[in-house]
């Protein structure tokens, strides 16, 4: 019996979060990094829903929290993609480590 316990969901969420963190730290494409952030936010969402389902005091709050996190993620993705499109227009590359005009 796994699906009836809280811990497996939290472990899954932890692993997913670290996969996203790896993607953010290792990729050099701005859109890849954005996708990694989305993976991390989804890991957080999974944890929120798991708490909501298994903690009696948080019943209902988990779902509400998750819906709000989805809204925040949508706003972040909108802004991020707009910025990426703006910089691509200037620099013609989506690779973040080539954005080094200010290094001294």
């Amino acid at each position: 019996m796994i699906a009836g316990h809280l811990e497996p969901y939290l472990v899954l969420s932890s692993l997913l979060f670290s996969i996203g963190a790896f993607g953010f730290l290792a990729r050099r494409n701005a859109i890849s990094m954005l996708m990694s952030i989305e993976v991390m936010l989804n890991a957080v969402n999974l944890a929120a829903l798991a708490f909501g389902a298994f903690m009696p005091t948080l019943a209902g709050q988990g779902v509400a929290f998750a819906l709000l996190i989805i809204a925040v993620a949508a706003a972040e993705a909108t802004v991020g993609l707009a910025i990426v499109i703006a910089i691509y227009r200037n620099r013609k590359t989506p690779l973040v480590d080539e954005y080094d005009a200010m290094r001294q």
Binding site: I2, A3, G4, H5, L6, E7, Y9, V11, L12, S14, L15, L16, S18, I19, G20, A21, F22, G23, L25, A26, R27, R28, I31, S32, M35, S36, E38, V39, N42, L46, L49, A50, A53, F54, M55, A59, G60, G62, V63, A64, A66, L67, L68, I70, A71, A73, A74, E76, A77, T78, V79, L81, A82, I83, V84, I85, Y88, T93, P94, L95
Partner: protein, 184 residues
């Protein structure tokens, strides 16, 4: 004919099988999102990750979030990401090295973080409910009572947040007109 309580021959419950299957898909496809060399496939793998997570949300009894996940994440955000990929990828980009030079330390650090998080969260005494099968459906009504009760302000401001993001996003993404000069 009712289903047997456990899967014949394997001996695990249907809910567990579903959780293991979906969890495996989530972790596998998320790994492909961050490891794959072709960025369009990464985007498609992201959709698979999000879809499998929606399945897990159903297992958790939060079908409304599963619906929102499919509509907002898969339907809107992922498509937006795929759009941006196609707008910005030059043909040469995907053939180039996809990882930063510090990918190996990043991998070690992330693995450490993942293990640490998993062990800490797994070892904590949560005092949580244990179900025989899967959690009872949390009930959309309970969630709505929270969202439109104590958290009403957060809910309303989330819409303001999206408005601000859309206004700024349109401004930044719009092709600058040459005649954008402003009269004083």
């Amino acid at each position: 004919m009712p289903l047997p309580p456990t899967i014949p021959f394997i001996g695990i419950t249907w809910a567990d099988a579903l959780f293991l299957l979906l969890g495996g898909v989530v972790l596998g496809s998320a790994t492909l999102v961050v490891l794959g060399r072709d960025i369009i496939r990464n985007g498609l793998m992201l959709i698979l990750t999000l879809g499998a997570l929606a399945g897990i949300y159903v297992v958790l009894g939060a079908s409304i979030v599963a619906g929102a996940q499919v509509l907002v994440y898969i339907g809107a955000i992922s498509v937006l990401i795929l759009f941006a990929i196609m707008l910005t990828q030059s043909k040469s980009a995907s053939a180039q090295l996809n990882f930063q030079t510090q990918a190996l330390p990043a991998a070690l650090a992330s693995a450490l973080i993942g293990i640490l998080l998993a062990v800490a969260l797994g070892a904590t005494q949560w005092g949580s409910t244990v179900y025989n099968d899967t959690p009872d459906p949390a009930g959309t009504a309970t969630a709505a009572a929270v969202l439109f009760g104590p958290w009403l302000l957060a809910f309303e401001v989330a819409s303001v947040l999206i408005l601000a993001a859309v206004i700024g996003g349109i401004y930044l993404a719009m092709k600058p007109a040459e005649s954008e000069e402003i009269e004083a």
